[in-house]
């Protein structure tokens, strides 16, 4: 029963991604033509390569979808899956981390990320969370800023 579900899921994923390649590839090819297939000397222009890459994507995607539809085994692999809550939560956390780096800088954002990922999501003991946060931030500062002399962003606290 599970394999039937997986096969259907894979079939759907194959067909969706394959069909999505058609407009994406078409847009890339069109942009290639707009950039110029030839340059003013008659040789390959800036759009030559993008045109062919886009055309190949536009042609390859539907073929992939068609193969998935035709094949009795629903394509050529398995293991396709639906996004689960844990994955979406991890993606949300990553997005929040990116926004936080812009606002409060790298160290505070990283500390907040550790607290959220380890304290609230993984539910580790708080002393462990705080220890990992402190040690990691110190190591980051030591390696990147002190030894390699690469200043990490401080967001709104830049002047401090």
């Amino acid at each position: 029963m599970k394999s039937v579900f997986q096969a259907k899921s894979l079939l759907r994923a194959d067909v969706l991604v394959g069909l999505a390649m058609l407009p994406i590839g078409g847009a890339i090819a069109a942009e290639g033509l707009a950039l110029g297939y030839h340059d003013r000397f008659g040789t390959m222009g800036a759009g030559f390569f993008p045109f062919w890459v886009g055309a190949a994507m536009a042609a390859g995607g539907p073929v992939m979808a068609a193969l998935a539809l035709i094949s009795e085994k629903s394509g050529d692999g398995s293991g396709a899956e639906k996004p689960n809550f844990e994955q979406l939560r991890a993606a949300g956390l990553l997005l929040a981390y990116g926004v936080a780096i812009n606002i409060v800088g790298f160290y505070l954002a990283s500390a907040a990320y550790f607290v959220a990922a380890l304290g609230f999501v993984a539910k580790l003991r708080w002393p462990v969370v705080l220890l990992v946060t402190a040690v990691s931030c110190f190591l980051l500062w030591l390696c990147v800023e002190h030894w390699l002399m690469i200043p990490l962003p401080r967001g709104r606290f830049e002047r401090f």
Partner: protein, 507 residues
């Protein structure tokens, strides 16, 4: 006889205590820098170059070489333990090394990496000493047409990287090619697919893309511990050493990877990435049992690491024999040469034999030191895996973000890294392999630049590729390989009832 005499003299130079100390320092610094995602040998060498001004040129170049090899090994550490390729040349190491880690063989994977690198160091030095200058001359004969032919040959690697699903593999490769197109056109400076974002004008940094695709992408896809990941890997010295079957599996693959890696490494611009991928693909192509590949193949890991290390020695050849840097690292080294008052070129072997042969001997000593360091430190490195998976994945995300930022000191690169992680996640949901995307990214820029250069130089259009002997030879080899692959694939096709349970092809 002269060769042995020169080599003995070089060995004597390299074994001077001061040189030993600096090669050790270089290897340690290189390993630490290489283990940090996003930081690579050119960064470390550029940062340490001012320190070497007060040293003897021979001591200074020996230290630089130590950093170079050390960073290669450092890359292997992050690739094997965390699945993060510190540099593009570690993609194949991630595929097999991280798979071995998931099977509880992290210590063995690190040992195999170090042993294969050491073997490659020895083999690379032998080739360097014996046929170095003629090979460098041959490398100079490589024009744009030959590079295009070589890249076409590299396309034969695709099936090796993707396993099953040829159409998905091609689509993934095209996605990689498209991403490589982003940025200013190299010939006309027209902005392509930049969406008016100034940060995209210089294109997508390869390292940032790879960190996102492999490192953070993996965390997004598996936020909790993978079921087959050994929860705690308490590695003892005797457990980290490869078994007899591992030794048998890796002996010829290391040799093949070393020779192929060296040859590709001597070509300016080709670099360790293509060398490692080509060595890996060759191994998979000729393997009798392909089922282990992408699931922790010893042959694949040994070949990739040998190719990677040997290419770094090969890249020294055009630098010393011709004064042409073949990679970013050797370009920084060339700057050092000029500052130290040395003029690399064909006369270097005659004018400064102690320098050249000292450097050659230090390659062996540096690799031997790395092997010893690995033996002593692998249990320590592998302890990282004893951390709870949630801690490990959070560390990967934060250190990858720092590494992505360090590439160009730009927050936009952190966003790019996250974007690539999301792309990898979506592709994995659709069961589309990631490795061909990386190959497309690596080869895209090279292919377009050389194709356009070749056609601009040609009076006969596409015929340039068959008019030049080296290019024609490579194209014939490519066609033979494709024909052989198609033939063996047809012959080996099992009956429908005998098809084994398919496996995930997420990498």
């Amino acid at each position: 006889m002269m060769l042995l005499e020169n080599f003995a003299h070089g060995l004597w130079t390299a074994l001077q205590p001061i040189n030993l100390l600096f090669v050790f320092l270089g290897a340690v610094i290189g390993t630490l820098v290489g283990a940090f995602p996003g930081l690579s040998a050119p960064t470390a060498i550029a940062l340490l170059l001012p320190i070497t001004f007060s040293l003897e040129p021979t001591t200074a170049i020996i230290m630089m070489a130590g950093i170079y090899y050390g960073s290669q090994f450092g890359n292997a550490i992050s690739a094997v333990l965390l699945g993060v390729p510190g540099e593009p040349s570690s993609v194949a190491t991630v595929i097999e090394g991280y798979a071995m880690t998931k099977r509880g063989r992290a210590g063995v994977a690190l040992s195999i990496s170090a042993i294969a690198s050491f073997a490659a160091g020895i083999i690379g030095v032998i080739i360097f000493a014996l046929v170095g200058p003629p090979l460098a001359w041959l490398g100079l004969r490589f024009g744009p047409a030959e590079y295009v032919a070589l890249i076409l040959l590299a396309f034969c690697m695709l099936p090796a990287l993707a396993g099953q699903g040829k159409m998905k593999m091609i689509v993934a490769f095209l996605i990689g090619l498209f991403i490589a197109l982003i940025g200013l056109d190299q010939f006309t400076s027209q902005a392509r697919f930049t969406f008016r974002q100034p940060d995209l004008m210089e294109g997508v940094p390869l390292v940032v893309a790879l960190i996102g695709l492999f490192g953070v992408g993996d965390v997004l896809h598996a936020p909790s511990a993978p079921a087959n990941m050994a929860a705690a890997q308490r590695v003892r010295l005797r457990e980290m050493w490869p078994t007899a079957s591992d030794w048998i599996a890796m002996r010829w693959s290391s040799l093949r990877g070393s020779v192929l890696g060296f040859l590709i490494g001597t070509l300016p611009g080709a670099g360790a990435t293509i060398a490692a991928l080509a060595a890996y693909a060759l191994e998979r192509g000729i393997a009798r049992d392909k089922s282990q590949f992408q699931h922790g193949s010893v042959e694949g890991l040994a070949a990739a690491e040998a190719g990677n290390s040997s290419a770094s020695i090969g890249a020294m050849l055009p630098l010393i024999a011709l004064g042409i840097p073949g990679s970013a690292t050797t370009a920084v080294m060339l700057g050092g040469f000029l500052i130290w008052g040395l003029e690399p070129g064909p006369s270097m072997f005659q004018k400064h034999p102690e320098f050249v042969w000292g450097l050659i001997a230090s390659m062996i000593i540096g690799n031997a030191m790395l092997l010893v360091m690995c033996t002593l430190l692998v249990p320590l490195f592998a302890r990282i895996l004893q951390l709870p998976y949630s801690v490990l994945s959070a560390l990967v995300v934060v250190f990858c973000a720092a590494g992505a930022y360090a590439v160009n000191n730009s927050i936009a690169d952190i966003w790019l890294m996250m974007g690539f992680a999301c792309l990898a996640y979506v592709l994995r949901l659709a069961n589309i392999p990631i490795a061909p995307v990386a190959l497309g990214l690596v080869l895209g820029e090279l292919l377009e630049k050389n194709l356009r250069n070749a056609l601009q130089l040609s009076d006969s259009g596409m015929l340039i590729f068959v008019e030049r002997p080296i290019s024609l030879t490579i194209i014939v080899i490519t066609l033979l390989i494709i024909t052989a692959m198609a033939w063996f694939s047809y012959r080996r096709k099992p009956p429908a009832s005998a098809v084994p349970a398919p496996v995930s092809i997420s990498r």
